[in-house]
Each structure stands twice: as structure tokens, then as C-alpha cells.
């Protein structure tokens, strides 16, 4: 029975309808209070700031929608959006391409499966900032080990600096993020896989479906909600990416790795335009909401049948 079912009045109980509604409000009041104080009010305040020229120090002045108008002609904002989109697409595909096979691998009961699960999940508990610093050091051309390793395999020149060009720095960052995040996505997908009754697979096998067909027609459709959850988490996380680019490349060679959040940070706390930063934050929030709605629609979450 879901929460919604238990809250809706059932005919068997003879309580007055109104009283149970008040009871419901009471139950969600703490959660609502948290959401109002820590989300609604800050968003309203951010909106108020976005209508001002709001320097970090000194007095602010009302400028109406000028911050929003400025965004339309701000090429650096567009390139930040472009890079964020590029990063989100690549990293989401990379994470799923690795996490799905891993989830299938650790789902079966096999020897040492606990060890595999733990080992793959381990990087998730490392903080993103620490992980970034760790990989900066791995990839350092003078003292790291990635360089000698890849050079020994004959893949790169031993004197090549990974963080000096966009492509190689981007690859290192993506590898780091996948290493860090894939375990988490794997665990979510694993719970989805384990929720599928084994009878369904067996029935399909009796009907003559091979392994690939069982995956496409039985497993995948039943994984829809789990995939929606991990997809939204992954996409949201990637769109809000900041730490790894700030720490590992400081915005990358010639600012080619400035994400939207990075740009908002720079505008707010380096150039001291808090008002403009606030306006961009709201636009980013709107973009995130739209993308999430689109993903839920795409995966038809909420409907009972495909």
C-alpha cells in the first residue's frame, strides 16, 4: 500500500473526512517547513536578487529584467551551456555503459559477489573534491603514474601533459567521474534488477526467448522506473558539475571547460555580480525542471502500462 492510499479516506473507516485531511497536513508539515525554508524562500530571494545589480560589497540597485536581457547576448554563458550539455551527454552515456553491465554482473549469485560489489562501490564514498585532487596527482606529468603507465603500454608520449589539451584533460576527468559515480548507478540498477520476479524470466525462457530477447523484452521494460531515477540523478548531477573542473583544470586549457555552475560562480564571486549570477541560477533551475519532466515523460513513469 502506498502512502497516497493510506492517506485517502477509505469507506470502511467512519472518520469525518475533514479531520483526516488535517491529520495529513500535520504529517507533511515538517517536510513542508523544510522545503519552504530551504528551497522556496531562497528561490524567491534569488529571484529578488536577480532583478538587481547586486555587488558582493556595497549597495544594490534595482534594474528590472536587465540581467535576463544580458544573458541573451552573453556568448560566454552560451558556451558554458554548450559545454555542460556536451559533458552531460558524454558522461551519462559513459556511466550507463559501464554501470549496466556491472549491475548485471553483480546481480547473479556467484563466488565473491560481495567483494565485487564493495570494490565497485568504494569510490562512491570518496568525496568528489578528494577524488579530483587524487586524479590530478595520478595524471600529473612529472609525478603521476598514468603517464608512465600509458607510455609503457606505448599509448602516449611520456612527456605529454594530459591537462594541457582539452581532449586529453576531458578524457581524464570523464574517467575519474565514471570511476567515482558508476558504482552508485550500479547499485540503483541492481535494486531494479533484483525487483524483477525470476518467474518472468523463466516463463520467457520456456517460450523460447534467448538471453538477448529476455533482456530487451522483459528486463528493460521492467527497469523503466529504476532507469528513470538513475538517469535523472545522473543528468542532474552532470548539469550541476563544478568541483572536478574547478579543481582539476581550473576551467581547462583556455577556459574550454567552464560549466554553467562554474560560470555562475565566477560571475558571482570573482566578478562580484551576484545579481547576474542569481538570474543565471534561475534559468538553470528552469532548464533542469524541463529536462527532468522530459525524462519522466520519455520513460512514461507514472503510467502503469507502457
Amino acid at each position: 500500500m502506498t502512502l497516497a492510499d493510506s492517506l485517502s479516506p477509505s469507506p470502511r473507516r467512519h472518520r469525518p473526512k475533514r479531520r483526516s485531511q488535517w491529520k495529513g497536513v500535520l504529517y507533511i508539515a515538517p517536510a513542508m517547513a523544510l522545503v519552504i525554508v530551504f528551497f522556496i524562500l531562497p528561490v524567491l530571494f534569488t529571484f529578488w536578487m536577480s532583478l538587481h545589480k547586486w555587488p558582493l560589497i556595497g549597495a544594490s540597485s534595482f534594474i528590472g529584467l536587465r540581467n535576463y536581457v544580458r544573458m541573451f547576448s552573453d556568448t560566454r554563458f552560451y558556451s558554458a551551456l554548450g559545454f555542460t550539455a556536451y559533458y552531460t551527454v558524454i558522461i551519462t552515456i559513459a556511466i550507463f555503459a559501464l554501470a549496466f553491465p556491472l549491475a548485471i554482473f553483480v546481480e547473479r549469485q556467484r563466488r565473491m559477489v560481495g567483494v565485487y560489489r564493495t570494490a565497485i562501490f568504494m569510490p562512491v564514498v570518496v568525496g568528489l573534491a578528494s577524488a579530483s585532487l587524487l586524479w590530478v596527482w595520478f595524471g600529473n606529468v612529472d609525478s603521476g603514474f598514468l603517464n608512465p603507465l600509458l607510455a609503457w603500454l606505448g599509448l602516449v608520449d611520456p612527456k605529454s601533459n594530459f591537462f594541457a589539451s582539452f581532449d586529453s584533460a576531458f578524457v581524464v576527468i570523464c574517467v575519474m567521474v565514471v570511476w567515482k559515480v558508476a558504482g552508485f548507478t550500479m547499485i540503483i540498477l541492481l535494486t531494479g534488477l533484483q525487483a524483477i520476479p525470476t518467474e518472468l524470466g523463466e516463463a520467457a525462457r520456456i517460450d523460447g526467448a534467448n538471453r538477448w530477447k529476455r533482456f530487451i523484452y522483459v528486463t528493460l521494460p521492467l527497469m523503466r522506473k529504476t532507469m528513470a531515477l538513475s538517469l535523472i540523478l545522473s543528468v542532474t548531477g552532470s548539469i550541476l558539475a563544478f568541483d572536478q573542473f574547478y579543481i582539476m583544470t581550473a576551467g581547462g586549457p583556455q577556459n574550454k571547460m567552464i560549466t554553467v555552475v562554474y560560470y555562475i560562480f565566477n560571475q558571482s564571486f570573482v566578478s562580484f555580480n551576484l545579481g547576474y549570477g542569481a538570474a543565471m541560477s534561475l534559468v538553470l533551475l528552469a532548464i533542469l525542471v524541463l529536462i527532468s519532466i522530459f525524462q519522466l515523460w520519455l520513460l512514461r513513469v507514472g503510467e502503469d502500462r507502457p
Partner: protein
């Protein structure tokens, strides 16, 4: 409830500790990283001889301004700050600093304090900042590596052709020795300090005199970029330089770097912490051979309304005393008082004198947009130095930098 009582007791204790600490008069002071040990040693000396204490917090140089501004906005600002002097006008203009005019003018040696610092510390005829440290950029070379490369260890190179040729010879010594180093991974602060003297000495600048026009595309700048590009191409610069955002600025201390432009602070660091490295110091030659330097350093400012301004002033007077000046100079900060400069430097490493000599040919760029234009790791100057020296499209780098710098200047008007 037991727990809540416990919590109340705990918070009361914490409060008492906090209040107690305030009564013991500890001054909170921030200082930027990368200025060597001079200030730390000064604080140690002061704390050792005074009842009041200074608690120093080191903040990464690239983040000090935004951290301080954020702290002011949040009401958590330190009592005093060692502020890069180029930022002094912006904070004074925003009315965030304590007015020091009367106190400063009453100092008997006020007239002999570094004039460029006092000038940048003055806003609308009131003094908000006073010199704390003076630093100039200089050229340094490793004498041991010069010897190994068959060069005369006591002869400073005077042109960039010479420096490049020496770099190649030093690179040839062994696989892990390099001829030249600079933090080229988008460290605007490092590059304005060590690289622009190449063009200043030859009469060019990256901004017009009034600071309203970006003038980055000059023949002198093209020539300077050319020298660095050629050295990178020749492989005499460590590959790590291309992504060094300033963390490894003092690479010469590892003993494998033949030549580098650095600051007087670094002379102090080398002398006191790396006595095994034998190095020479001279003025930075420009692309046409005339010398130049960047005169920078920090001003001492007090946050407006700080209840401990008296201690801060007391501390600054100590810094200006002969004893304080000597401690700072030993670790690389040049004297801020010209009346006792000779006495301060008397027993010190003679190489410090080169840093003092550099003041005569040095320049201090002044613009309210310094952070946006120059120092920010994502600003146009930082990107330009990386793109023009390491990138494939030099003309494009010049065009982009010119356009972005002008855009920032115009937006701020």
C-alpha cells in the same frame, strides 16, 4: 530531558570559550598564500614578544579577494588583512575599510613609507591602507646547472636570445634538467608578475595609460610570446608548465630548473629554506634588452568597525620597527621604510639588493578591474598567456584577448 541539558551545557561552555578568547585579545588576520615566509615569521616574532596575539590565516592568493568580500558580506570578516595592494582602491571605494588617516600621518616615518603603496591605499584623500610588504620581480638562474652546462655561472644573461640559448644547453645536461620555467596553465597573477616586464622594458603595455583601452597586440608582446613559444617548442620547459595554475610557481627550488623569473619573496625562500641551491639574481631583460620589473606587494588594511583596531595598529608599528623590518627582509620582503632600508639590508644576503634595485625600473599596473582582467584564472589575460604560448593559433589568441579585455573594461564603465 538529559540530552537537551547536556547540549545546553555544551553550548554554554563553547560560548564561554569564545568569550574568553575575545578577552585575551587575539587579532584575526588573513594573508594570501605565495608570499613566502616573511609574514609568518613576523607574526611569530610579534607573538613571542607581546601579550596580544595575532592569529594568521593563510588564504589561497587567487581566492583572497572573493573570500574577503564574502566574509564582509556575511559579517565574518577578519580584523585585518594583508591585501594585495592593487585591490586596495576597490575595497576602499566600497567603504569597507577603517580610515587610518590621522593615525598614519602621526607616524614619525610616514613620509618614508613606500609611496606607491600609500598612493594605492589612499582614496578620496583618506588613507585606508599602508605598506606591509614590497616585492619586485627578478630573473634568477641556477649557478650549479650553469656550470654543468659549461656556462659562466657568474654572468647574468642580458637578452632573451641568450636566455633561450642557455636554456637549451641546460636541457642537454640530463633528461630531468630543464632550461626555463613559468606557470603557464592560466595563472594570470604569475604571468603579469613575471612575463609583462618583457614588454614593459621595451615600452609597451597591455592597457592604455588611463586603463580604458586594452592594448595587448603590440610588436613587443608578439616578440615576447615568440621567445616563450620557441622555448616550449624546443622542449626546454617542463611539460607540467602548460597546466600549472600557480601551484608550482617556485619550481626552481627543486634544483632542476636552470632559469626562471620570480619575485623577491622567492629570493628569501631560496636563501632560508633551500641553502643548497646556488643561484644568481639579476633584473629581467625586456625583449629589446632594457630591464624592467613588476612592483607589487601588500597593503595592511583594517576591516571597518573592527573592535581590535588598536592591536592592529600596534602590530603594524612593530612591523615598521627596525626589528620587524629585519625579520621581514630576511625572508624576502623588501623594506617598506626607505629611511632605514640601508640598515635593514646591511647584514642580509646581497642578492636582496637586486630586488631593491628593481624598484627603480618597476611598474605597478592599476585598474579597478584587475581581478576580472588579469588575476582571475578564467580571465582573458590568464587564458591569453596559455593560448598564445602553448596553443596552435597565436593570432586567434591575440584577437580573443583584445576583444574580451575591452569588453570587460567597457562593461564596467
Amino acid at each position: 530531558m538529559k540530552i537537551s541539558k547536556l547540549l545546553a551545557a555544551a553550548s554554554l561552555v563553547t560560548f564561554c570559550f569564545a568569550a574568553g578568547a575575545a578577552q585575551a585579545e587575539t587579532l584575526q588576520m588573513w594573508v594570501r598564500s605565495g608570499i613566502g615566509a616573511s609574514f609568518t615569521k613576523l607574526v611569530e616574532a610579534y607573538n613571542g614578544s607581546h601579550d596580544d596575539k595575532i592569529q594568521m590565516t593563510e588564504v589561497p592568493f587567487s581566492e583572497l579577494v572573493q573570500k574577503y568580500a564574502t566574509a564582509i558580506a556575511g559579517g565574518q570578516a577578519p580584523d585585518a588583512l594583508s591585501l594585495d595592494l592593487i585591490y586596495n582602491p576597490a575595497f576602499a571605494a566600497a567603504d569597507q575599510l577603517e580610515d587610518l588617516t590621522d593615525w598614519a600621518k602621526a607616524l614619525p616615518y610616514f613620509a618614508s613609507l613606500s609611496p606607491s603603496h600609500v598612493k594605492l591605499g589612499t582614496f578620496e584623500d583618506k588613507i585606508y591602507g599602508l605598506p606591509l610588504s614590497v616585492e619586485t620581480s627578478v630573473f634568477a638562474w641556477n649557478k650549479d646547472l650553469y656550470k654543468k652546462a659549461g656556462l659562466d655561472p657568474d654572468k647574468a644573461p642580458t637578452t632573451w636570445e641568450e636566455i633561450s640559448a642557455n636554456a637549451a644547453k641546460i636541457r642537454a645536461i640530463s633528461d630531468d634538467t630543464y632550461g626555463f620555467y613559468f606557470s603557464g596553465g592560466g595563472c594570470g597573477g604569475c604571468m603579469i608578475f613575471t612575463f609583462t616586464p618583457l614588454t614593459w622594458g621595451a615600452g609597451a603595455d597591455i592597457l592604455s595609460e588611463d586603463g580604458k583601452t586594452a592594448t595587448i597586440d603590440t610588436p613587443q608582446m608578439r616578440k615576447a610570446i615568440g621567445y616563450y613559444r620557441d622555448m616550449v617548442k624546443a622542449g626546454v620547459v617542463p611539460p607540467g608548465a602548460a597546466s600549472d595554475t600557480g601551484t608550482n610557481f617556485l619550481s626552481i627550488t627543486n634544483g632542476k630548473i636552470g632559469q626562471q623569473n620570480l619575485g623577491a619573496f622567492a629570493i628569501g625562500t631560496l636563501v632560508t629554506e633551500h641553502p643548497d641551491i646556488h643561484f644568481g639574481v639579476s633584473l629581467i631583460p625586456s625583449v629589446d634588452g632594457k630591464t624592467s620589473s613588476f612592483a607589487g606587494g601588500d597593503n595592511f588594511v583594517i576591516t571597518k568597525g573592527s573592535p581590535r583596531a588598536a592591536i592592529a595598529k600596534n602590530f603594524l608599528e612593530y612591523a615598521y620597527s627596525l626589528e620587524g623590518q629585519k625579520v621581514m627582509a630576511k625572508y624576502g620582503s623588501l623594506p617598506t621604510r626607505s629611511d632605514i632600508a640601508a640598515e635593514v639590508l646591511k647584514d642580509l644576503d646581497p642578492r636582496m639588493q637586486v630586488g631593491v634595485d628593481a624598484i627603480a625600473v618597476a611598474k605597478t599596473p592599476y585598474t579597478l578591474q584587475f581581478n576580472d582582467l588579469i588575476n582571475s584564472a578564467n580571465g582573458p589575460w590568464a587564458s591569453f598567456t596559455n593560448a598564445a604560448i602553448f596553443g596552435d593559433d597565436v593570432d586567434g589568441a591575440f584577437a580573443t584577448a583584445q576583444e574580451e579585455m575591452q569588453g570587460i573594461i567597457d562593461n564596467a564603465q
